[in-house]
Symmetry: C2
Subunit: 206 residues, 2 copies
Amino acid sequence: MTDYLRDGAEIYRRSFATIRAESDLTRLPPDVAQVAVRMIHSCGMTDLTGDLDWSPNVVRDARAALRAGAPILCDAMMVASGVTRRRLPAGNEVVCTLGEPGVAELAEKLATTRSAAALELWRDRLGGAVVAIGNAPTALFRLLEIVAETGVRPAAVLGIPVGFIGAAESKQALAESDLEHLVVHGRRGGSAMTAAAVNAIASEVD
Amino acid sequence: MTDYLRDGAEIYRRSFATIRAESDLTRLPPDVAQVAVRMIHSCGMTDLTGDLDWSPNVVRDARAALRAGAPILCDAMMVASGVTRRRLPAGNEVVCTLGEPGVAELAEKLATTRSAAALELWRDRLGGAVVAIGNAPTALFRLLEIVAETGVRPAAVLGIPVGFIGAAESKQALAESDLEHLVVHGRRGGSAMTAAAVNAIASEVD
């Protein structure tokens, strides 16, 4: 049997050192770089930085919102599951409404996906929230529609849905909006990367 | 606002058609190709097939085990969270022991990570199980040690941990073992890809 490193803290230390040595973080502001390192850690890909896009205050505003107790609104259970509760600064609520009763019927009535319909149940918590979309492009498109319709604004949007149909387009639309945002352009994305971004914003501890 | 496709079934259909058109699936046996398509869907990367490795009976044996009621043993809550319960053929138990009481103390006692220590709580369920490791290289290394120590054999191992320290090495060790296995060589991997592999094996429905 291969010998292997068993010290969790040392594994983290060497992982983050490798990421910092191999990733091009120079074009990122320091607070975005800290988030990017953790996102790279979650996917094993140092070239992720090339697809990253952000608004100048996204990390600052998301972090301030969390410290003030804002909820984290997630489009998928895997995103919610990946948020490390002990890193949250104010015991923040982590919300995913996808599995709530009535969402399937609502999706049928609104002629949309369940992921998009689930956002209708966010409405009373959306103002000032941190939104973390790591799966469904339709959820991100619907978020932008709700903001446009209502004028209610989240503190920040981590828009990192994955896939082949609508993912790139939904992230482009978010990047062109005036919302504070962090996106990974293109097809890549997903729940692990998105949860990693939340975890990095929640606490600056590696 | 950009118009976008809202029909969930049509989004799936077009996504899978895009993946089949753009991925090189020719070197994969048909049952592995079906699993690969769903894994690609979870990460947005059509070049994933280049890193895939498998033993000839892994999909057949994992599928048979699930139909016979085998549990799915996951190293991380995100993997367990990503398994779509309605796809499971026998209401199979989805197990993640990482958060169980005593695991942190056990890790300290055994001088290893919590992810590896959590496998000690799998021992009575490991024979014939489907193992899904999507996060921690140390969990995959420990699994191989337990199999070597006890002779107890899971039906199949989906070994897809992610990262910079030990991930590639642990997957190489699994690929060189005589266990039925599916791996993604290199640094890439993760809970979404791993849950997608479980979901594809559990049901052949797109």
